[in-house]
Subunit: 249 residues, 2 copies
């Protein structure tokens, strides 16, 4: 393990470690997948699930709606309602649409389960470097999830953002008055957590989650990217950040 | 007009002026009212609008859902869908529910019309005091409205919050390292913009908007509150803030 003793007076080292929320600190995508399965089972009353490409149609509607609804469970629910009406040619019953609203409500209220090793890893990192939570999605829902996770005390600063692109990360770094070369982002999504940070000249620690939303699976990160470290679990995060600091000096 | 020449060396004066967004800087409630009317006209196909208390039922559903959906047009749309299904005893057609989704989409995409005098007043205030935009609601929608308003350049700092209560304002003031006595909030809602700021010991400038959502109309602000100024239009804001600064010294 590379330790801070490698530090030289000429190099300020890592100045901030950012953490993604959904599927990095706590489980999330499982609940969206469960919602999708429930959605499909309702649609099964009207259409042949294999022929209609129900899940694909839902993804199409969700992507079309991202520019209007943004990310999150409320936008997903509205997209599900719209997709259900389109796929059934306006034949779906109000009772079934009511069940779809309930899917959305359950998704918004799901219990927040912190991923194994996260509290220990974030605590260890926060003892050495400033940390920030940078999470994307619905403001209200994200705030509730942070509270329910019990991790709020670890983060003096929380940024809930509507999109994770280079300009968003640049704005956050500007607020911390920090060059990207001194920033490490830890997350499960190459598209949202890693690629835009690398684009700015920052560093990434990628911890894949078991399931990835198709929209997030599209990215342009090379597997031999020199400023990216892979960590199989949260337990490896402190070591990965220390290794990045050593490499950056 | 009270001017800054009243300042004494012993009193630091006003250190931050906050502005609400919806119905303070730009028109908003009109679009929600229009959405409500369109909703009622769809419901008119199924229920007697006078007997069923459609608008009241919608408000009831919206309030019930605030704890799950939060504020904003997406939550309103989901509440409309739910209220429509309840009010029609699950008899509403998918075609009509589709129209309700469209109401939500239009509400999210409405043009942003800056209220008369706002740009001039905020510019004049920003020339003398630090300013911040503190707006409540859906993160994605609020960001879009700020962009469309053309006012972003006036605000170095923007806070989009999920609820406007004393703890939210206390957090914002802590980030500015400012005691509430040196903070003035300008807004149209006594409930959201004025009451929680007065509760912390801050100051308020109230500019009523032509229409107020019933939920926002409930408040406990006394009409003879000494730390509150009434400004009929945005044009009076600079004078009101200057008067507060003079009164606070």
């Amino acid at each position: 393990m590379t330790s801070a003793s490698h530090a030289s007076a000429h190099s300020p080292g890592i100045g901030l470690v950012g953490f993604d929320g959904d599927d990095t600190l706590w489980k999330s995508e499982d609940f969206y997948r469960q919602a999708e399965q429930e959605f499909e089972s309702i649609l099964g009353h009207y259409v042949d699930l294999h022929d209609a490409g129900t899940a694909q149609h839902l993804l199409k509607v969700e992507r079309r709606n991202l520019a209007v609804f943004g990310y999150g469970a409320k936008g997903m629910t509205l997209s599900m309602i719209e997709a259900a009406i389109e796929l059934t040619d306006e034949h779906i019953s109000a009772a079934h649409l009511r069940q779809i609203v309930e899917i959305g409500r359950r998704t918004l209220q799901h219990p927040v389960e912190v991923i194994d090793g996260v509290r220990e890893a974030v605590s260890a990192i926060a003892a050495r470097w400033p940390v920030v939570l940078i999470t994307k999605g619905d403001l209200f829902h994200q705030e509730q999830k942070i509270e329910r996770s019990g991790l709020r005390d670890l983060f003096p600063r929380i940024e809930i953002v509507s999109e994770k692109d280079p300009s968003t990360y640049a704005r956050v770094l500007a607020e911390f008055n920090l060059p990207a070369e001194r920033f490490v982002m830890v997350g499960n999504s190459l598209r949202s957590d890693i690629e835009p940070v690398l684009a700015l000249g920052g560093w990434g620690v990628h911890t894949p989650y078991a399931v990835t939303w198709a929209h997030e699976a599209e990215h342009g990160v090379s597997s031999d990217e020199p400023r990216l470290r892979l960590a199989d679990t949260a337990w490896q995060w402190p070591q990965a950040v220390a290794a990045i600091e050593a490499a950056g000096r």
